[in-house]
Symmetry: C2
Amino acid sequence: MPSHILQRRENESTAARIALSAATTRGAHLRTEDFGDWLAERRRTHTFRVERIPFAELDGWSFQASTGNLVHRSGRFFTVEGLHVTEDGEPYGDGPRADWYQPIIKQPEVGVLGILVKEFDGVLHFLMQAKMEPGNPNLLQLSPTVQATRSNYTKAHRGADVKYIEYFVGPGRGRIVADVLQSEHGSWFYRKSNRNMVVEAVGEVPLLDDFCWLTLGQINELLHRDHVINMDSRTVLSCLPFGDASHGALLSDTELLSWVTGERTRHSVRAERVPLDSVPGWKRGESAIEHEEGRYFRVVAVSVQAGNREVTGWTQPLFEPVGPGVTAFLTRDFDGVPHVLVHARVEGGFLDTVELGPTVQYTPENYAHLPAEERPLFLDTVLRAGPDRIRYAAVHSEEGGRFLNADSRCLVVEADAADAPLQAPPGYAWVTPAQLTSLVRHGHYLNVQARTMLACLNAAAVGNR
Amino acid sequence: MPSHILQRRENESTAARIALSAATTRGAHLRTEDFGDWLAERRRTHTFRVERIPFAELDGWSFQASTGNLVHRSGRFFTVEGLHVTEDGEPYGDGPRADWYQPIIKQPEVGVLGILVKEFDGVLHFLMQAKMEPGNPNLLQLSPTVQATRSNYTKAHRGADVKYIEYFVGPGRGRIVADVLQSEHGSWFYRKSNRNMVVEAVGEVPLLDDFCWLTLGQINELLHRDHVINMDSRTVLSCLPFGDASHGALLSDTELLSWVTGERTRHSVRAERVPLDSVPGWKRGESAIEHEEGRYFRVVAVSVQAGNREVTGWTQPLFEPVGPGVTAFLTRDFDGVPHVLVHARVEGGFLDTVELGPTVQYTPENYAHLPAEERPLFLDTVLRAGPDRIRYAAVHSEEGGRFLNADSRCLVVEADAADAPLQAPPGYAWVTPAQLTSLVRHGHYLNVQARTMLACLNAAAVGNR
């Protein structure tokens, strides 16, 4: 038997190397002050025009006669269907008893969101891609190295080759830094998850057009700008194994896991797919499926046309929220250790009932008609926070391949005992960023908005040092 | 702001106290040599008779006209429905491409399986209950302190009070040692999970009839006997936070989590509930629903009659496997550290595609008709292992409230390189028991058979010291 074949279960040096990259704001490849020019150059190379079109002008997409579901004739990509969500009251759950219908995107295939990392001058750099997505307000943002579904990268569907995919799958791939299935938007997707990967390259890596190497410190600076780091990048970055600097927390890890278990148990939720044309409260017009009172989101269609003749255009449906969102963590220091207030959220599309979201995750327009006492907890605290309380702020886009103009103002807001007491209300808990980093190694704990906010927290923490 | 309100994230003293209890084989309350008499006395107090009956004699249960599903008129308990499971081949998954129908139990309500612990003479003791379940071959076995659904313990359905439930739910409950939602049998249940809890009592605890305090060392001795520690006890025991004595492993934790993610990604599985009377390959008779070739399991009905007039009888359906099962871990030492070979299993009822099972988990009769090369991997290695290779063996029952005569021979079998190479075949991985203990803090990693085997491994490890 060979000897010394064991490894340590935890590789502490990875955390140290990530910390060094986060502390390095001068990259070996591209200076941050030159990044804007580089992205503008990429934007000139890829001119795209995205236009709203009526559903009738969608190519290959149609409403299925028997269900009203919006489907592609190939059976690929995704479908827009209906969802019926019910939440029980006593004795099966403690509610709130709820019952609603909504359109939902069903895309069962798991994709890879992967960032390749490699040391230059002894510092880890991250390979990021300037990528166009039709729903982004500025179209081109920084995506992970790879963003691909399995049928994409196994090439069975005659797609273009997926660049760098060989570093993430197959026998010759690199050293795994993180690899976890994470949920996507539970209010818009039915049980969708993607494989979030960070892989360290072994050996030389060619640098292709549209790609650039950045340190984590540079990426964190860019995370302070609006609409630069796309959602897929943010969720992958949130999965980085940051070192745990503080071992103290209000709740022990056992208590935190128990609280999550309790939240999952007390909510008894059923979600059943139904035909889209049987969804009450929503109406289908020529160019949009929308809620009768104009709330939540619309299903719309766009055409994408490329200025570059080498790339052909396409048409597709997108979900468009009715207004900008606000996504925020309230934060407080306890015994000098920063904590954030997480919210155990039920979203109809979650696989496992409840995931942890930020303190606030709302489209304020959906609640503007309500009296103050019926508005979501902590929303007004966040909306009213003065600049002296704001520790982080930037506007980010949700996944631009599925969502149109889905902008969220992402905030970290310092709270005091009057805003948010030590004893969190039911459904909320104070946790440390280190505890979030432990949870995000596993799927179905942090929703995609909480993962965006964790990436922003990590970016803000470095900025404050 | 109050100071010193933080806790350490991990409480190392709990692991030490569990180790002390495991090392203590003399209990403060009941000696192990007297345990058999105590259980026999309980058995005399509760005489039950369980008889097979035709479906027509079920009271309150009937086959729904529109679906053929077996349901209770109250809408409570559980239903027997049909399940259609498909697994894709390329490009969505790498298979095996599969497509089958089967009956399945749907019981959406989450139950509590909870063991109360308390120190006597400085040693943790576990409060176990002698409980009758109609499917157990010997009827009475040791269950956790509490085994109850939410609608049971919220008493909304006029059930008898659930003893000791106040230690597990509500504001006055004890200190949480473990609390995690775990899956049940994915081949027999549709997405069923139970809350596995270990809670330390604060203050005095009355000792009621049918209950006894045992040290973990005593329980581990009883785990070496056949049909004593019931399935619910075994799964809760597997969730105990044992200390991690060894920090080395063949795979780092990051690699292990990545392997699980990869297994979940490469299997593209859909499971849809269908009407029971539309399930091909299964036939319904007067007294059983069975597979046309006599494989897998039967759905049958029983009546339970109590000798004690204070308790009324009842009737219910049960699932009965066609033969005894074999559940086994192959084990090898690498660099002196014991590892076991886990198998990433697809079971139709899993919430999240794949969970880790033991090396072998089969009803050998289902495969007896196959030539050797088509029989499940490692099954023959386990069946042929001589006594010198067997590190643990006992026959245990699966959940006797749902399964009739569902016996599994549970084995830990020492393997060599010829049996099981260092480089595990696809779908298998070598992991340490300490890594399993880390995984089982979270749901959906270890299936119920792997959790039984982890409890047995921990029992065997103490026995060998």
